[in-house]
Amino acid sequence: MPSPAPPKADNQTLHARIAKSFPSREHQFSLDVEFSVAPGFTILFGPSGSGKTTLLDCIAGLATPDAGCIVVGEHVLCDITTRFSVPVAKRFVGYVLQDLALFPHLTVEQNVEYGLAHISRLERKQRAAAMLEEFRIAHLRQQRPQEISGGERQRVALARALVTDPSVLLLDEPLAALDAATKAKIINDLRRWNEAHRIPILYVTHSREEVIALGERVLVIERGHIIAQGAPHAVLSAPLQETVAQLAGFENIFDAKVWLVHEDRGTMTCRLPGEPSDSFVLLETPLIRAEQGSNIRVGIRAGDVLLAITEPVGLSARNVIAGRLVSLERRDMMIVVRVNCGVEIEVHLTLAARDSLGLVEGSEVWLVIKTYSCHLMQK
């Protein structure tokens, strides 16, 4: 008879330090991370192959780290130095696997009841029924997983993991295959459930919109290392490192030098070396802690740049740069424009904008870039 779930302390934070390497094959991969997950949603954000699933497997106990320890509240789940490891079945870690892994031979109700073997039949039925109700799948209780829709399957998988009252919840891209509307509804249900339970939820995704919708905190992982962490807005909109910038979709990334620092205005001027080598572009950017003359990178989203066909005046934007239109390319319902102003900058426009401005290759144009549209990264 399994022991009941450990009582939940007020501060049920997950602390993990995990190192694991996979020798062999084409390239060696090693995971080496240390992080804490407070109650609430924490997003684990990173490209595929960055070690996210391995990390979750280690927390759930399906994989064993080479070194490190994993603690939830006061409960040690795994400590490699003392060779201590709680078996998977006794960790009370809820884990929704990437492809859900619903039991195909059991009904929805039996799937949800699966993790409640240790309690009485009556209580099991009641708890499962309440959970089915909460996740709006009560009407499917007699169906088998292959008879219901993808969104319903996701709900069953969530309900099956949550009904066990886990002390940590791991979600491996649970909504990846769903359309936006279904996704939003499930996210709402999940959020409501979490308001009542407040356990650490580690949520793996590589979707930006899920990060923004769910995240209280984001861990950015790449090639086995956590490269940034913080509030979603801070991590994703003012990334510190270029890898994050690429994830977050910056079309323009330039090497630059800090040219002038305007402490009083809270801005600085950066110099972007151009082609030919004596040309350059000066950009006014937000102030960061950087020495005059130090090398940094500037990222600008193509959608954040305004384009004008006469020199604009009377604008609040600090950067108005003259240039020549190099190419116009239609990509779906959007126009990708490349403008040479010493450096080449990509700008995204609507079809209507192109037509009303009468843009053609070779046109003289001005680009308008707000100071806070310039994102700085360490180099």
Binding site: V88, L97, D99, A101, F103
Partner: protein
């Protein structure tokens, strides 16, 4: 036309007992073969598969030696029961279990191996012990393989000849199985009786295999069979 129904009854009795033992022995052995990561596992796999390629007389010979009154096993049995294992029904069961082992264990193993490992992981994270995972997830999802293994073991035991001859000899009602009976009839130039007996055996084996393949076709794809708790 005289069919020796006594030998039929004996053969079916033997096949039932052997299949039952193979189910009990085969499940843990097959699950070990399917899930163990021991580096020398292939060694055990080879031993289990041996009866497929080994001439029945070779297997029968060694089993006979092992059961005989000069072997430790034979002596132990004799001290326990007062008679040897050779030329008894029990001896026949032991030989047949060894001989039919791969026919049960291999289908078991391959169906266990084909159960999605993600389901095993899911069961574990939901608090399922290895035993619970085995009985609630692995076994229900392996029903076609289990049925195949049982029927193959049953049919194979029904049809064995060499091992029976080596271990059991030809004692009516004790070790005289159908295939021995047919052999005897042919030796005695009694072709009509041999034909009748052989035909019954042929039809029986065909019916069993057809049932298995039919069942497997129905259960593959959408899941219809499954224990309801």
């Amino acid at each position: 036309m005289s069919i020796d129904w006594q030998s039929f009854r004996l053969t079916i009795e033997l096949a039932v007992v052997v299949s039952a033992i193979l189910l009990i022995v085969g499940l843990p052995l097959a699950s070990w073969l399917a899930f163990s990561r021991w580096r020398w596992k292939f060694f055990v796999e080879a031993i289990v598969a041996l009866p497929i390629v080994l001439p029945p007389t070779v297997l029968g010979f060694y089993v006979l030696v092992a059961l005989g009154s000069r072997s430790p096993l034979g002596q132990w049995w004799q001290s326990l029961t007062g008679h040897t294992l050779a030329f008894t029904f029990t001896g026949l069961v032991i030989g047949s279990v060894l001989y039919s082992l791969p026919f049960a264990v291999q289908p078991f193993t391959s169906s266990f191996s084909s159960v999605d490992r993600k389901l095993l992981a899911a069961s574990a994270t939901l608090g399922g012990s290895p035993l619970r995972t085995f009985f609630r997830v692995v076994i229900p999802l392996s029903v076609p393989g289990l049925v195949t293994g049982m029927v193959l073991a049953f049919a194979h035991t029904m049809g064995e000849f060499g091992v029976v001859l080596m271990i059991g000899g030809n004692i009516p009602g004790v070790t005289r199985t159908v295939s021995i009976d047919i052999y005897d009839q042919v030796q005695a130039s009694n072709y009509a009786a041999a034909n009748a007996t052989a035909l019954v055996l042929l039809v029986l084996c065909f019916a069993m295999l057809a049932t298995v393949y039919g069942l497997n076709r129905r259960t593959s794809g959408v899941w219809t069979v499954g224990p309801v708790k």
